[in-house]
């Protein structure tokens, strides 16, 4: 290679960077359009323009070799799920998953979600003070998709730990990744068990897919990965988005007032929450052809970490990017990724959030923080771990 590579030895996965990532993201964005991460032997794309271009260029930025930053996971996952395939394999799996998750397919659930949201909100108002993460944000994600999929109650108590491990393991081969592998193994064991022994509730999405597999419409060996694709990414991500929103509404009561007086703004809450604090920091891609990142050539065969979280805070793209503003035109944010691999469950996440914030807006006038948010320390996921709040009615 003749060019001098713009590189960085900043450790994106150091505890202190994970705890307070945004100053580092900014430093990296200012350092270049693409940076060679010398610690991990892969490129980093920190700016919006290149991140968006990469996500829309799925042939060049391949997912079929895995999307993690370590060989163990990439070897184990490549080609085996919607996340780790390219077209045409990807498109087949995406259609199976997506058919149940389109806004139209989900429309029938909105009334039930709203009913459940009102019950939850009434309970929380009764309490007055609570942990917004455990008591509010986690309630729907830990029940909605598991119920829709029809997985048995037995084992659900481990879902938080397992789903988190599935993301954790996509990081570089550090201590966090290593310690997540046993939990991921347990998760895979659970999924295989559920898929194989007719434990899926009759009429559920999982059971429908089981019947489709028996009828030869779905390759039977894809049933566990499909269950995993529904379940794994639906939990922490949604919890993160809901918690970010509550945290920001507590910090900016004017935003909550605006939402209460114009309910059409509810539709944008999740978008702005995942723009501000992308629940997924980023994923890896494997280059099939050279890529020109504003004058820096990334070579075919190189690995690239595509940072959604940094792109969503890029001053080159967003005005006042650190500000939570539910009036913002969020179109084009990459908090759900973008393009063919964009979050297949985003319609469901938005439907859950719409129900929850509608129920809150009916009764709650103020959220007050009664302590500082504590953030999870995680390779891939960004989310608040505990958020003590008091609600006023």
């Amino acid at each position: 290679m003749t060019q001098t590579l713009p590189s960085t030895d900043i450790d994106l996965f150091a505890d202190e960077v994970i705890a307070d990532p945004h100053p580092t993201y900014r430093e990296l964005r200012d350092a270049g359009s693409a940076l060679w991460m010398s610690r991990y032997d892969c490129w980093l794309l920190p700016r919006y323009a290149e991140v968006f271009a990469a996500l829309r260029d799925h042939d060049r930025f391949s997912s079929a070799s895995g999307v993690g930053l370590n060989d163990v996971m990439n070897q184990a996952t490549k080609g085996g799920s919607v996340l780790c395939t390219d077209p045409p394999e990807h498109d087949h799996l995406r259609r199976i998953l997506g058919s149940r998750l389109t806004p139209r397919a989900l429309r029938g659930h909105s009334e039930d979600f709203l009913r459940r949201a009102h019950l939850l909100v009434d309970e929380l108002i009764e309490k007055g003070s609570f942990d917004a993460v455990a008591d509010f944000s986690s309630a729907f994600p830990l029940s909605v998709v598991p119920d829709l999929l029809g997985v048995p109650e037995d084992g659900r108590e481990h879902l938080l730990k397992w789903a988190s491990a599935a993301f954790q393991a996509e990081g570089p081969m550090n201590e966090r990744t290593q310690s997540s592998l046993p939990d991921l193994q347990e998760f895979l064991g659970y999924i295989t068990d559920v898929a194989g022994e007719q434990k899926l509730a009759s009429g559920s999405w999982g059971h429908q897919m089981l019947l489709e597999a028996r009828a030869g419409e779905i390759d039977e060996k894809m049933l566990p990965p499909l269950l995993l694709d529904y379940l794994g990414p639906s939990i922490d991500t949604t919890i993160s988005a809901l918690s970010t929103a509550i945290w920001q509404f507590a910090l900016h009561p004017d935003q909550w007032d605006a939402l209460r007086s114009d309910r059409t703004l509810i539709a944008n809450v999740v978008n702005e929450a995942v723009r501000l604090e992308a629940p997924i920091r980023g994923f890896g891609r494997h280059l099939t052809h050279d890529f020109d990142a504003d004058g820096v050539t990334l070579a075919a065969g190189d690995w690239v970490f595509v940072s959604y979280a940094s792109a969503n805070r890029d001053e080159r793209r967003w005005e006042n990017p650190g500000r939570f503003d539910i009036h913002r035109d969020t179109a084009g944010h990459v908090g759900f990724g973008s393009g063919i691999h964009s979050c297949v469950g985003q319609g469901l996440a938005k439907l859950e959030a719409t129900a929850l914030f509608t129920a809150l807006a009916d009764k709650v006038t103020r959220f007050e923080l009664t302590g500082e948010p504590v953030w999870n320390v995680h390779n891939i996921l960004r989310g608040i771990a505990t958020l003590p709040v008091t609600v006023r009615v």
């Binding site: 084009g332 979050c343 319609g347």
Partner: protein, 66 residues
């Protein structure tokens, strides 16, 4: 003349296109997106609106070519 195409195999009916360019795209009740504009009448403003919708489409199902 721009050519505006919706890839129906990728479209999941998120409806952002209709919100951004209601003169160009219509999301029907059954979840399918229709391109309302005929190539022969599409001008620069339509092309700009369609391009904005294409960039916002979460699943990259809209293709606009000049």
């Amino acid at each position: 003349m721009p050519r505006i195409v919706v890839d129906t195999s990728r479209c999941e009916g998120h409806g952002l296109c209709e919100g951004i360019a209601p003169d160009v795209f219509a999301l029907h009740d059954e979840g399918a997106v229709e391109v309302l504009i005929k190539e022969s009448v599409a001008g620069d403003a339509i092309e700009a609106a369609a391009t904005a919708a294409a960039l916002a489409c979460p699943v990259a199902a809209i293709h606009v070519t000049s």
